[in-house]
Symmetry: C2
Subunit: 454 residues, 2 copies
Amino acid sequence: MQSFEIDKTDLQRIKVALESDDAELQRVLKEYHPSEIALLFEKLPQEAKEKIINILPIEVASEVISEMDEEHRPGELLINLHPDKRSEIVEELDYDDATDIISQLDEDEQQEILEDLDQEDADSIRALLKYDEDTAGGIMNSEIIKVNLNFDKKEALDEIIRQSEEMEEFYTVYVVDDSNTLIGILSLKDVVKARINAKVKDIVNTDFVFVKAELDQEEVAKLISQYNLTTIPVVDDHMKLLGRITVDDIIDVMEQENTEDILKISGVSEDEELSGNWQDAVKSRLPWLIINLGTAYLAASIIRHFDATVAQLPILAAYMTIIAGMGGNSATQALAVTVRRISLSDLTDSQAYNTVFKEFLVGLINGAANGLIVFFIALFYDANIMLGLVLFLAMTGNLIVAGLTGASIPLILKRVGIDPAVASSIIITTFTDCAGFLLPLWFATHLLLHTHVK
Amino acid sequence: MQSFEIDKTDLQRIKVALESDDAELQRVLKEYHPSEIALLFEKLPQEAKEKIINILPIEVASEVISEMDEEHRPGELLINLHPDKRSEIVEELDYDDATDIISQLDEDEQQEILEDLDQEDADSIRALLKYDEDTAGGIMNSEIIKVNLNFDKKEALDEIIRQSEEMEEFYTVYVVDDSNTLIGILSLKDVVKARINAKVKDIVNTDFVFVKAELDQEEVAKLISQYNLTTIPVVDDHMKLLGRITVDDIIDVMEQENTEDILKISGVSEDEELSGNWQDAVKSRLPWLIINLGTAYLAASIIRHFDATVAQLPILAAYMTIIAGMGGNSATQALAVTVRRISLSDLTDSQAYNTVFKEFLVGLINGAANGLIVFFIALFYDANIMLGLVLFLAMTGNLIVAGLTGASIPLILKRVGIDPAVASSIIITTFTDCAGFLLPLWFATHLLLHTHVK
């Protein structure tokens, strides 16, 4: 099976079906998975989406809405539906999905939806709306399977089977005491394998990983990935069980964080939508380019300072662009490795020190290797051994600057609490541009022109 | 809870415990989660690791080994254990994890381990070893819960509970016919909610997503993420059920693919280990830098061609580095957005066309905006309006080149079956360097020096 792509045929079929009768539209829609209908929605006008949602069975309609990307505004679709239909859909949604969608709307619209719901559903969603959407509380689901510490095997098994009637998927069983304090976890396997007269408290596993509701979702993703968890319980400050986060909720968090990393490191603002329009792209990128223009003038001012040197030896103008460019690329390499390493796990002091030292060594070796090539080209092509030496020293020096800044700047930013990916190539290459112009011009001025004036 | 970091205290405690008696070592080890012991192993010598594995309970020892990173060679640790211990550990491992670890060893060592196992376990692992480790077959687990199409509700429920006794975690129930052909899926909820005399065939859900064993793991990850699945069944060419892949197996695939993307786009070979040593880093990055040196000479040769222009107006040397640098950064922005978009979903022809057109527009606007700034600086600082015009045109032109190449090259590579992230900044900036030197020098030669020779 290949991943689904919307093509013109699908869109055409849906559009034709929308024009014909309801039975035909239902027949055509049946051939698509809810997540495929959500993709098709990206290309359909508002009335068409509403018509489709109204005609779909409630379970399918709610799945379609929960699969829609936030940027395609499922909340707006929901608020425009007939209130009865809307309540049915919201009640069918998982609480965490319902909360995400409702949180996109303004206060009045949120109230309008919540007032029409069952008291219990409305209360659960109101409780979830309190949490920042980037925290554990914001992504957790409050539908869980839990058993009391004092149940025996049969009570526990009956309770698990009873509770699973409400839940699409089954993971860990949570064990709580009479005041809903989380005591431990159990798998179905633990319960099934237990002696017939065992109590939950005899078999409960009290060695487990949990998170507080306020924890940042990125940290939750790191924990789930590091401990290879399928699900992680969320508790309040008094260890009361609030909900659970499952690994599939974390997939979206990971993709989002990875997109942000790759964009920020390339000098694109983290909230540019990948499929956004050109206006948004300009808004997200122009500020970085203007900063870069400023730093480029800084680097260029170095060239102006050495005007006399360039005039005496114009070939330097070509060579220094090579040295600056090589430094920029080398710094981007060191930066990418360091930023990615920091995103996957936190580094200890000694690991941070080793990283900077490693990048210094890599800069030295790669600089010397490329420096040698440039040296021999200057020797044979320009027939100027001192020019070769100047270029060798400048190349080695600039690639060392590249390694040191590419590794240390993101590490320093991380320590002072700034996102290390902000140390984008645009910022780092300022250093390699300045050093890339300064080193060849300075060495040329002091080594070459004083000893070998043309 | 924060994610675990190994610090010197932990390492010191383990080292002291290793020197004292077994009871003390066991006591200290009990305080660490298996995945934490796996992290500590990265810092311990081979004998220490063997001693710890031998002293841990089998379940913990096998979990530690399965949590070790491939680069820290769990297979080597396994092969050096006493054969009895080794077999116990392998039999405790999930088949997919056992296969991953055994596949790192050479043929003879693999045989040595497999010969000591139960026939059934050995056969299952041999079957999995056939699949390429980057495919669905290579990451699937063959331990699944399955029921026959003809079971009634009670038989199905009993069978599910019986089979769950063998499995740590529970997901979807697979429904097969008498010849093990996959017919559909069920959740525990479906079974529990069914009428008392319902048969499995009455309630089975036959509309499900599956993959063939040969499918690339990256495609599996896209499907799981697109359809929000917790688990996906793996079948052979005749729809026989082979195993399942769960979302937590995919987390590692996603992190690996994301790391590869961010490295390749920055000109680092995809198999450089983030925490590798400097020798590996040099091996992975030097080839790209040497390619870059070649392309830099190409760009620099443009400068040599316009020697006379630079000699007449040396200030151009400084300005053209600014224009080339701005183009490089702008291209990196367009490249990052496009590469990331391609990795998250496949683009249709019209989406691809729109992306290139959008990046052209963004290049035009950002180019004109920065061009205006440069124009005014040339006007007020250099008091040369024609120089300002030359720089405005060159900046706008180069940022258009940046947008067009940054968007179209990864799209073209994807179409011809090459990984689009290989269109790294290093490759794309060749275009913007060449255009960044050529455009100001050409415009200056034809507009400025012919009309305004100093």
